[in-house]
C-alpha cells in the first residue's frame, strides 16, 4: 500500500533566497506558531566539500503528530523523529532534501523529497520547488485494517503542512530580501 503525491510550486524569488529560507524554515521561532507540528530541529552532521562547492547536512526533526486516539494507543507515542538529509550543489545551484521517519517504521514509512532549482524561464529570479511524498503503511502492522484511514489522514496532514510550509517560505524570503536591500556596505 503505497500512496505517492507530487506537487510543484514556483517561488518568485531567486534560488539563493529560497534555499536560505529553507534552512531557516523550522528553526525560526517566528514560524513555530504556523508550523506548530514541528517541535525541534537539530543538526546532527554536516560536511562541506570546499573544492566542488557541495554542502551536506543531516538534521533531526521532531514532529508532533497526534493522529487519532487509536493510533496513539497502538504505537504508544505521539512524537515522531524524522531525519532530513540535504545536499546543496552551489555550482549547479541545486538543493535536494530527503526526509524520512525513523520512528514508527514498523507501521508506516513516509519519505518526502524536495528539490529547489532555478526556474528555466527565469533562472536568476525564480525558483521551482518539486516535492514528492510517498506514504507506505506496512501491510502486516497492527494498523493494517485501518490503514486506508490513516493514510488518508497522513496525506491530508502532509498537504496541509506543505501549504503552511509555503506560507512560511514566502515570509522568510520577503524578510531576507528586505534585509539584503537594507544592508549597505
Amino acid at each position: 500500500m503505497v500512496k505517492a503525491y507530487a506537487q510543484e510550486h514556483v517561488y518568485k524569488h531567486p534560488w539563493e533566497i529560497v534555499t536560505s529560507a529553507s534552512w531557516r524554515k523550522f528553526a525560526d521561532p517566528e514560524n513555530k506558531r504556523t508550523l506548530s507540528h514541528i517541535l525541534d530541529v537539530d543538526t546532527l552532521n554536516h560536511k562541506l566539500d570546499a573544492e566542488s562547492g557541495k554542502l551536506y547536512a543531516t538534521r533531526a526533526i521532531t514532529i508532533h503528530a497526534p493522529g487519532p486516539w487509536f493510533v496513539r494507543k497502538i504505537v504508544g507515542q505521539d512524537i515522531c523523529h524524522c531525519v532530513e538529509s540535504t545536499v546543496v550543489d552551489g555550482q549547479s545551484r541545486s538543493m535536494q532534501l530527503t526526509t524520512r521517519n525513523i520512528s514508527l517504521q514498523k507501521y508506516i514509512e513516509v519519505e518526502e523529497r524536495i528539490r529547489y532549482n532555478p526556474h528555466p524561464d527565469n533562472p536568476s529570479g525564480w525558483t521551482v520547488c518539486k516535492q514528492e511524498t510517498s506514504i507506505r503503511i506496512k501491510p502486516l502492522s497492527a494498523l493494517a485494517s485501518m490503514a486506508e484511514k490513516v493514510e488518508q489522514r497522513c496525506a491530508e496532514r502532509f498537504l496541509q503542512n506543505s501549504v503552511k510550509g509555503r506560507e512560511v517560505m514566502e515570509r522568510i524570503c520577503k524578510y531576507l530580501e528586505s534585509e539584503s536591500r537594507g544592508i549597505t556596505f
Binding site: W15, E16, I17, T19, S20, W23, R24, A27, K32, L39, D40, D42, T43, L44, N45, H46, K47, L48, A50, S52, G53, K54, L55, Y56, T58, A60, T62, H64, Q77, I79, H81, V83, S85, V87, V88, D89, G90, S92, S94, Q96, T98, I102, S103, L176, S180
Partner: protein
C-alpha cells in the same frame, strides 16, 4: 519521549527546545550557519568552512544529550556520507552502488 534527555514538559504547548540543554548552543550554531549560507555559500565563497567553534560546542552537547540511538548514529561522519550518497546519487560524484 523527546530526543534530549530531560523531563518531558507537562504541557504539550511548551516546546522542548526552550528547555533542552543544547538550545543556546544550537541557536548560536544555526544563526552562524544561516548567515554563512546566505552571505557566503550562495555567492560561491565556499572554500572556507565557518562556524567551526560553534559547531564543535553544539555537537559536544548533542553527543552528551542525544538519547535516541537511531539519531545518535547520525552523529558519526560515516553515517552522513552513506546517507548523502544513497540519497543523491545524481549529485554526488562517483556514486556507488550498495554491495
Amino acid at each position: 519521549m523527546g530526543i534530549i534527555r530531560e523531563k518531558k514538559p507537562k504541557s504539550s504547548s511548551s516546546s522542548p527546545s526552550s528547555t533542552s540543554p543544547c538550545a543556546d548552543l544550537r541557536a548560536a550554531y544555526h544563526n552562524c550557519f544561516n548567515r554563512w549560507y546566505s552571505e557566503k555559500f550562495v555567492k560561491g565563497q565556499w572554500q572556507k568552512e565557518e562556524c567551526v567553534a560553534e559547531w564543535q560546542k553544539y555537537r559536544a552537547c548533542l553527543s552528551e544529550h542525544l538519547e535516541d540511538k537511531h539519531l545518535s548514529r547520525f552523529l558519526e561522519a560515516e553515517a552522513l556520507d552513506s546517507t548523502a550518497r544513497a540519497d543523491s546519487a545524481s549529485v554526488v560524484d562517483g556514486a556507488e552502488t550498495n554491495s
